[in-house]
Amino acid sequence: MAGDGALDIHIDAKAFAVPCGAPRPVLCDVGFTALPGEILALLGRSGSGKSTVLRIALGLDRDFTGHVRMPPGRTGVVFQEPRLLPWLTLTENLRLVLTDGMPVPDLADLLDTVGLPGVADRLPSELSLGMARRVSLARALAVDPDTLVLDEPFASLDRRLGAALAAMVGERARRRRAIVLLATHELEHALAISDRILVLSGHPATLAADVTVPDRSDPRALDGLRDTLLGRFAFLGADA
């Protein structure tokens, strides 16, 4: 049994309702536990159910059988869509999630950290999708989260920027001992920052792999894991 500060998920079954038809099963027997300070990458094809797992973890989808236990404390979230409030400036968007009693970080500095200096007073409509996603990431970091749930946070960004942001998130999470649940289709992002890689595969999707990422100072071990995963799951190479 995981400790009090752990994230514990077990989805026995999850199906989506289909008009005039039997429910379509999407997830079956997907379970894992994440300890404080652990970064988990959830890999899978597009439509494999990664976002559904995250929604279940966040309590946004309760129509499943199984159980979820989120660790206590604050949660930062990056949805696939930036979900910024179009009537608020970027600073106001960040300030919105800082509830009473929460330490207020330097928001302009936080935007600077995700590569957006000097945009604090802009409205979301003045940004590209990639920039808006980074504001969404800054908002998730603004709450100094104990748990960080990230759904394809580096999509719409070029590879170099995506890798840099992934490294920044990983470094912050380790320093904070936060649990990170990262859904991505980029194997390289997963290898770059995660401690464990979970792969969803099949229809309905099951947890086809749950592997520990070796010490990153050993490139041969990392290459070995990359080759193993690409050998078992060809779709990971297709997306990369």
Binding site: T75, P86, D100, S128, V149, R160, L161
Partner: protein, 279 residues
């Protein structure tokens, strides 16, 4: 990257909107550009009235000059300001009550299917009940007093506010609602920062149509059962076939409502939707 910061050089399609582009989009058809057109439109209406009165040459269609002179006389006499003030007070009270009741019920019905199922039949009945029936019944049940007058207008107007706000509540973005849930935003924060801005266009539409309808219903209520107000004065002049008096009171009150909408409601709506113009 040495301090963990990301430079801005690798963005796909970065800066799609320059400040200049945003400002250029902000210059739309609103603002001073339409003022001369509006003025010309009003002048053409007055000219048509004046020509019609000259052509008819009848006391049943007095010209604008005679109507203005009559209104001026009533103003100096004190009857016009008193009646206008009384009617305005009723309009404000009924408008506020209808907006409040309609908005709260509409919001709740838009958020809860069960509540909607409970309230909707009442609203459908209220929407289809003739205003005259509502006024007469309210006077009979509550008495010939100001409470009944305001209540009757509120009952007649609130259903249309309800329908507008219910549609707004139904159209609230569920993705932003999820955002509020995962970040555990307080109810006050949700209402103020997430829901109110989305409901504002609906509130503005309900307020603007509401004001126009409310004052017309107030006049009927006054005509039927109050001893003062513009509706009472209209009834008085109707009984003596004084068309000049009817037009004087009707026009003055319409102008006041037009000013209220132009000076209060439209700027409020523009301010509330300012972010859309910047976008």
């Amino acid at each position: 990257m040495d301090d963990g910061r990301i430079d801005d050089s690798g963005i796909e399609g970065a800066s799609v909107s320059t400040p200049a582009a945003v400002l250029a989009r902000g210059r739309s058809t609103g603002g001073l550009g339409v003022v001369p057109i509006r003025a010309l439109s009003v002048l053409s209406l007055l000219a048509a009235w004046w020509l019609g009165a000259r052509w008819a040459a009848s006391p049943q269609l007095p010209g604008p000059g005679r109507v203005v002179a009559f209104a001026w006389h009533e103003l100096l006499d004190g009857a016009l300001p008193v009646n206008i003030a009384i009617t305005l007070a009723r309009v404000i009270a009924a408008f506020a009550a209808a907006m409040l009741a309609g908005s709260v019920a509409g919001y709740l019905a838009g958020r809860s299917r069960r509540l909607y199922a409970v309230i909707d039949p009442w609203v459908v009945i209220a929407l289809n009940l003739p205003v005259l029936v509502v006024v007469v019944l309210t006077y009979i049940w509550v008495g010939l007093n100001d409470v009944a007058a305001v209540l009757a207008v509120t009952i007649a107007k609130a259903p249309t506010v309800f329908v507008t706000i219910r549609e707004g509540a139904r159209a609230l973005d569920p993705q932003l609602e999820e955002l509020a849930r995962v970040y555990r935003l307080s109810l006050a924060r949700r209402l103020r920062h997430i829901e109110a801005p989305q409901l504002l266009p609906y509130l503005a539409a309900a307020a603007r149509s509401g004001l126009a309808i409310t004052w017309k219903i107030v006049l009927i209520v006054e005509l039927l059962g109050r001893p003062n107000g513009v509706g009472f004065a209209l009834n008085l002049y109707f009984q003596s076939f004084n068309v000049t008096g009817i037009l004087a009171y009707g026009c003055v009150f319409a102008v006041i409502m037009l000013v209220a909408e132009t000076v209060l409601l439209q700027p409020w709506e523009r301010r509330a939707n300012g972010w859309r113009r910047r976008a």
